[in-house]
């Protein structure tokens, strides 16, 4: 006695046999099978173990709502856990494992948890494991000890650490009408919108469109429904203005009619073609949306309702109708509505045997009675299943008389033998997307279900999503929704003909059969995956966790991978009953994206494995070829050092920095932010944004400038060059190029729209090479033509234009290193050319390319500040840049820079630090006045940058220290417990080297 394949029927391709393995065992199925249908066809009933009690579980549903039959797919060398067997299309080579069991599915140690059933009820963890108040396990230790075991027992599937080799991609799409759901209603809607000339996308989560029509054995337009759906689908696919996406689930409804959908492009293939994605993440901007997402069947809650073989009636129907699989030899239906009778009818037609139909309602419709008669049974009305029998699968049930009005059970308990129990507790429209879109669902007394709220974005609904449970209703509402989404009125044209459907799909308001539970009967489960029972819901009620959100959180109801698709409404109904209020009064949980789980890689797709692009200077390849070790600076890559063989980083930067002081060095400064500031008001604008004056700057000269934020804190610094009366070139720090641009644009657009100034980012237009050192001028003299570079023509802060080896250049005499230095700017496309020419010209002077470490060393020696000191908390005064705060004019930040807290002398302020023990200082080390590594003192500041200074022959650094200048000459200690460094230092002026600046003026 077991499930099996029929000899004919269904839409699977019986000529194509597919091999797959489950827990290492080889099986076969057919093309068109899901893993679930194929396992059932092979008589496999035990498929998984439940989350908490490790109870045996089988296939429960036939779709996305599956709570029990979760497996791990082994593919591409990686594990993909927690995939419902009902969602896996069979393909050659498919390998699948069961999960949450040890050592095997049939014999699972975890099943011991079932013995502690009552102990392990809702809230169990909150009430224990607090541990002892004294001893080695006090505090959090005892809990953490227990938690290790709890964690191992919890979880479902096991993931591995092997990188996922799959390709994912994102696709942006635009359409007039998006139809979510390709059942009968969706097909009608799409066709109506397409005929109205709209651009339409139809997304269907299953491999084929058609929905119920695929297995319902009805007729539409005189044809079998499945055939009608196929033809309708083909018609749509042939249209230019329709994109038909199958295997595509719309999972998120975001603001502004932006919807997210996942297309499973390659999961059903043994191997996707080269360069093709496994999943494609669609972001669809839709003018209007038609939600035709259907309805899901609910189970009934009764003792033992989780045994393998207990299934949804609609699922039993689908397995028979679509896959040619009979879920049992003797099937009993148990229902509170007529849809189970349709299922029984389909099963009978497929060759199955209906052992009984148990119905909680005292009377049923004539149509239902007739269908039962076709199936060869007289419905047991006014009765209910109170117990299931069996071990790892169901072998029988027990029924008793049931009073639908009071829920009371009476009379004899009668056993019925069966190997499949098909349950229907009514239907719940899939309103998730509508709920995500913003509004609260509305309870419908007739359907005993939540219906979608009134739309608050541009969507309309169709089909069973709206509670239209008949095919005729789907056809009509589908067409109307398509028309309405196209801005058209409902049509009166004839719809395809269907058989009349006198069945009563609205269920009796029965959710639970309250029979006493026992070890043999089993528990009455509400949430099958998370093992939440009806008693758990009542315990939550008893303890005051009565709001639906508390219920969910206290019991974990509905929080499993199926997100409560089959359990939310029954759980709510049981709580409502316990509270003595109606279901809508008890509330509904808000649905959140995704509708059903989505691969994380799919959502990350568009990055192509590179989280952030690499930003390269024109000389990048040269640096790499010449041994540079590159480092990141924001998105940029810059040389840290140019290492000679065998050199350490420290040796390299000392060599490079020393070369600059001794003769000449060259460094790539192309990454500096550069903004063209042009227009008649450019000078006025700069006066307002910089703390110092720029309107007085002569053409052909540059000036160092400082910007503050509105709150008076230092923001950025750099030089700005006046190239013409109305033409400035502003430079910013590398890191702040973007923020400064945005800051300036904000003020021009919003605060001073009257100023005539244009800004253009020209960072990428210019390559920059700084040539620094006593021999710098000689290098330029050797290669620059078209201008002199002597002190008169090119004084400090002067700018000249000329050519180097045929390329136009602009040279500004600026110094960050404190040496005689020039920044040579050329068009970026000429950057490498000019760089190489400078290297050649400098060869006889021993020109040395230097990296960020040497650049940092030179600036520390000079006491110049960078982002390490301008860290968003320091003021100009903290950095002793008060001389730049103009008193002649207001500027951004001048209004708040004098607040008492910002001018306090005791703030942490810039000082120099000298190591007195000859050891390095360490970035991020702190400064203390006393203490040791064992007894840490009080921090009075921290080191922002340090280096070995070749010019001073010692380790020096910059620091922000309480009191700043007042500390000069004081002894203190560097304290770096993280790196176990403690040592004496002297606090000194931050101008270590050539404080008068003779060298750069030389």
């Amino acid at each position: 006695m077991s499930p099996r394949r029929t000899t004919s029927g269904g839409s699977i391709d019986r000529r194509r046999t597919i091999r797959f393995t489950f827990d290492g065992e080889a099986y076969t199925g057919h093309a068109g099978d899901t893993l679930a249908s194929a396992l059932l066809a092979n008589g496999v009933r035990l498929v998984g173990r439940s989350f908490k009690y490790h109870r045996p579980r089988g296939v429960f549903s036939a779709g996305i709502d599956e709570p029990s039959a979760l497996v791990t797919v082994l593919k591409d060398g990686v594990r993909e856990p927690n995939i419902p067997a009902t969602r896996i299309e069979l393909h050659d080579g498919l390998r699948v494992e069961s999960q949450n069991r040890f050592p095997s599915l049939a014999f699972d140690f975890g099943a011991i948890n079932q013995l502690g059933g009552r102990l392990l009820g809702a809230g169990f963890y909150y009430k224990t494991f607090m541990g002892p108040v004294i001893g080695p396990l006090k505090g959090t230790r005892f809990w953490m000890f227990c938690e290790r075991f709890i964690r191992r027992a919890a979880g479902l599937g096991r993931a591995d650490y092997a990188p996922d080799p799959s390709r994912y991609e994102r696709m942006n799409a635009f359409c007039d009408v998006l139809v979510a759901g390709g059942g009968v209603a969706g097909l009608m809607a799409a066709e109506a919108a397409a005929k109205a000339g709209k651009r339409v996308i139809l997304a269907e989560q299953e491999p084929e469109t058609g929905g119920f029509a695929k297995w319902s054995n009805e007729t539409i337009g005189g044809k079998p429904a499945a055939e009608w759906a196929k033809t309708a689908s083909e018609r749509l696919a042939a249209l230019d203005n329709v994109r038909l996406l199958t295997r595509t689930m719309v999972w998120g409804y975001y603001d502004g009619n932006t919807l997210a959908a996942l297309e499973r492009v390659g999961d059903h293939l043994a191997r996707p073609p080269k360069g093709h994605a496994r999943h494609r993440h669609w972001t669809i901007r839709a003018g209007a949306v038609v939600l035709a997402t259907g309805a899901l069947e609910r189970p009934l809650v009764f003792p033992g309702n989780d045994r393998p073989g207990v299934m949804l009636a609609g699922a039993v129907r689908r397995y028979a109708g679509e896959y040619g699989v009979l879920c049992g030899d003797k099937t009993v239906f148990f229902a509170n509505n007529d849809s189970a009778y349709q299922a029984a009818s389909t099963l009978t037609k497929a060759g199955g045997h209906v052992a009984a139909i148990v119905d909680v309602r005292p009377t049923i419709s004539e149509a239902a009675t007739a269908l039962a008669a076709e199936a060869g049974v007289v419905p047991l009305t006014g009765q209910a299943v109170v117990e299931t029998k069996g071990g790892k699968h169901i072998t029988g049930i027990v029924v008793q008389s049931f009073d639908a009005a009071t829920g009371a059970l009476s009379g004899d308990a009668r056993p019925i033998e069966c190997d499949c129990l098909a349950v229907s507790g009514g239907w719940q429209p899939v309103i998730h997307l509508a709920s995500q879109a913003g509004a609260k669902a509305e309870w419908d007394e007739t359907l005993q279900a939540f219906l979608p709220p009134a739309p608050n974005q541009r969507w309309s609904g169709a089909g069973s999503f709206l509670g239209q449970m008949t095919t005729a209703g789907a056809l009509e509402s589908g067409r109307n929704a398509g028309l309405s989404a196209s801005g058209k009125k409902p049509s009166r044209a004839r719809l395809p003909e269907v058989e009349p459907s006198p069945l009563e799909i609205a269920p009796a308001p029965i959710f639970e059969i309250k029979a006493p539970i026992s070890a043999t009967r089993g528990k009455a489960f509400v949430d099958l995956q998370h093992d939440v029972t009806a008693d758990d819901v009542r315990l939550a009620h008893r303890e005051g966790f009565v709001s639906v959100e508390h219920l969910k959180r206290y019991t974990t109801l509905g929080m499993a991978t199926d997100q409560g698709k089959t359990s939310n409404v029954p759980g709510l109904a049981i709580m409502a009953e316990a509270r003595g209020i109606s279901i809508p009064e008890a509330g509904t949980t808000r649905f959140r994206p995704p509708y059903s789980p989505v691969a994380i890689g799919a959502l990350a797709a568009e990055r192509y494995g590179n989280l952030k692009p690499n930003r390269l200077t024109p000389m990048h390849d040269w640096h790499v070829e010449h041994g540079a070790r590159m480092m990141e600076a924001g998105l940029w890559h810059r040389p840290m050092i140019y290492g000679a063989p065998g050199e350490t980083v420290e040796q390299a930067y000392i060599r490079e920095a020393a070369a600059v002081r001794r003769s000449v060095g060259i460094v790539d400064v192309s990454t500096l932010g550069k903004i063209a500031v042009k227009g008649p008001d450019a000078a006025e604008f700069l006066d307002r944004v910089y703390t110092n004056m720029f309107s007085t700057l002569a053409i052909g000269k540059a000036r160092y400038g400082l910007m503050l934020r509105e709150d008076g804190i230092a923001f950025d610094d750099g030089t700005t060059w006046r190239l013409g009366e109305d033409d400035f070139l502003m430079t910013t720090t590398t890191a702040n190029a973007g923020p400064v641009m945005q800051h300036l644009e904000y003020f021009l657009d919003i605060v001073w729209p009257d100023l005539k100034v244009h800004l253009t980012s020209v960072t990428d237009q210019w390559a920059g090479a700084a040539v620094a050192g006593p021999e710098a001028r000689k290098v330029l003299e050797k290669c620059v033509i078209g201008t002199a570079v002597d002190n008169d023509t090119l004084p400090f802060m002067g700018i000249v234009h000329g050519r180097i080896d045929g390329a136009p250049v602009m040279i500004c005499r600026l110094s960050f290193s404190g040496e005689l230095a020039y920044e040579v700017y050329s068009g970026a496309g000429h950057g490498l050319h000019v760089w190489e020419a400078l290297m050649e010209a400098g060869e006889s002077f021993g020109i040395t390319p230097y990296g960020m470490e040497a650049l940092g060393t030179l600036r520390i020696e000079k006491g110049h500040v960078t982002g390490a000191e301008i860290d968003g908390r320091t003021t100009a005064r903290d950095l002793y840049l008060d001389w730049m705060l103009s008193k002649k004019k207001p500027f951004i930040g001048s209004g708040l820079m004098d607040r008492p807290g910002l001018i306090d002398q005791n703030r942490i302020r810039l000082v120099g630090v000298v190591s007195l023990d000859g050891q390095p200082l360490g970035g991020g080390a702190h400064i203390v006045e006393q203490g040791s590594l064992d007894a840490l003192g009080q921090s009075i500041g921290h080191i922002t940058a340090f280096c070995y200074s070749p010019a001073l022959a010692k380790y020096i650094g910059l620091a922000l220290v309480k009191g700043g200048k007042a500390q000069h000459g004081r002894r203190a200690f560097v304290s770096d417990p993280l790196r176990k460094r403690f040592g004496p230092v002297e606090l000194v002026s931050h101008h270590f080297f050539d404080p008068e600046g003779r060298r750069m003026h030389g």
């Binding site: 938690e147 979880g155 096991r158 991020g924």
Partner: protein, 419 residues
């Protein structure tokens, strides 16, 4: 026998679990209280609990608009840490961690505080220096911090992309061992029960619709369940601060409300042990006891009260998690949700007497409210009881902006979305 213990569980199991009492009563509001706390979230409940436990003030009501714990206590990513840079923050959050360590006992409620550690990854030397500066600050402030090398990280966190070819290669990481995670809902429920058992009235579905005033002075609140008078009214409604202050006539305030999304994957067997934060972007991840990977990233960057996130942020967060853990791409996102953050102008909270006489204010928690719950409740209760701040919340004034004494951990200045 303690109300909750292994023994009581066993006893109740044998009697069909019929004798459990409600975790907190559902009383009707009295006409007047000594103290009203507006806001039945973590901070409000903790405040009430400490008012009763530490100061003997039990004639207290906590008023909650919806269901208890429905604000950010119920929608955060459950991380507890004190790995801060500035001395004010270190002092406050370290105090909080100390309270966390004993919280389950204190409340006789397992809040599942698990000191699994929080690891901040550094991806370049400058970032490493910044983290080391922070770690040193933590150590000098009396806390714990350790620097891990790449090799140590490889052993501690399998699955991280530690290859040299990673776009953001890991150079080291800052570990705070005493940090970890807790069961967020349990914190709300534990404090609620703790307060309730000490006599505090917790009143759900009671929305404050206005303040009762005597001149300038606040003397109570109007609610959807009638007027309630009080000698002192504490407001702890982070996420809705501006809305509630509006009811008291305060129309401009240094707070913006922003939405922060959080995410959870399907449940898995143990995958990652500690909390890991990614330095190449804004991302943090841990694993819950149930097995879900819990993670989050940046704000959605615009004012919102909608508890509803947007897609570009989802994509950014997923990109970062895949960059950090390349195997996670194959796993599946189960659920996402949004919480409304009370973003202050410097990223630090406000816990103070005022701004009106009779009123006490606790707000501006930005991302950091959950871990602060015990210290926030403790110091707010202190401030209400004694009419002066405790040493740990003394810097968290409202006047600090005008004085130029912002406590700006990130250095982003008055741009709330960046804190």
């Amino acid at each position: 026998m303690a109300e909750y213990s292994a023994l009581s569980l066993l006893k109740n199991a044998l009697t069909g679990n019929c004798d459990w009492k409600p975790a907190w009563r559902k009383p009707d509001p009295k006409p007047a209280y000594d103290v009203i706390i507006v806001g039945g979230g973590g901070h409000g409940l903790a405040t009430a609990c400490y008012l009763a436990a530490e100061h003997g003030i039990t004639n207290v009501a906590v008023l909650e608009k919806g269901w208890l714990g429905s604000g950010n206590i119920g929608r955060n990513t459950t991380i507890v840490r004190s790995n801060y840079l500035l001395p004010e923050s270190i002092r406050f959050y370290d105090f909080s961690v100390k309270l966390w360590e004993n919280l389950s006992h204190e409340l006789n409620y397992n809040v599942m505080f698990s000191q699994r550690g929080v690891l901040n990854l550094a991806h370049n030397p400058a970032q490493a220096d910044a983290y080391i500066r922070r770690g040193n600050a933590m150590r000098h402030g009396g806390g714990d911090a350790d620097w891990l090398t790449r090799e140590q990280i490889a052993r501690k966190v399998p699955g991280l992309d530690l290859s040299g070819t990673a776009r953001f290669p890991v150079v080291g990481g800052l570990l705070q061992k005493r940090a970890g995670t807790a069961r967020h809902d349990a914190v709300a429920w534990g404090y609620a029960r703790g307060a309730d058992r000490r006599g505090v009235d917790i009143i759900e579905n009671c929305e404050v619709t206005g303040f009762l005033r005597d001149g300038d002075r606040i003397i109570g609140v109007s609610t959807s369940r009638g007027d309630i008078r009080a000698k002192k009214v504490g407001v702890a409604v982070a996420g809705s601060t501006s809305r509630v202050l509006n009811l008291a006539g305060i129309g401009q305030f240094p707070i913006e409300s922003h939405v922060l999304q959080a995410f959870v994957s399907e449940a898995l067997k143990p995958f990652v042990d500690c909390v890991v934060t990614f330095g190449g972007g804004h991302l943090y991840m841990s694993q819950s006891d149930k097995g879900g990977l819990v993670f989050g990233g940046s704000l959605d960057y615009y004012n919102s009260y909608a508890q509803r996130g947007n897609l570009p942020t989802v994509e950014d967060v997923m990109s970062e998690i895949c960059a950090m853990f390349p195997s996670v791409a194959r796993l599946r996102l189960l659920r996402s949700w949004g919480g409304v953050m009370d973003m202050s102008m410097d990223g630090a909270p406000i816990i103070t007497k005022g701004p009106l006489p009779g009123m006490y204010l606790n707000c501006g928690w930005c991302y950091g409210g959950f871990k602060a719950t015990p210290a926030s409740g403790y110091s707010f209760a202190w401030t209400i009881a004694k009419d002066e701040p405790h040493a740990i919340n003394a810097p968290y004034t409202l006047s600090r902006f005008e004085r130029g004494a912002a406590i700006d951990e990130t250095g982003h200045g008055p741009t709330p979305k960046l804190h």
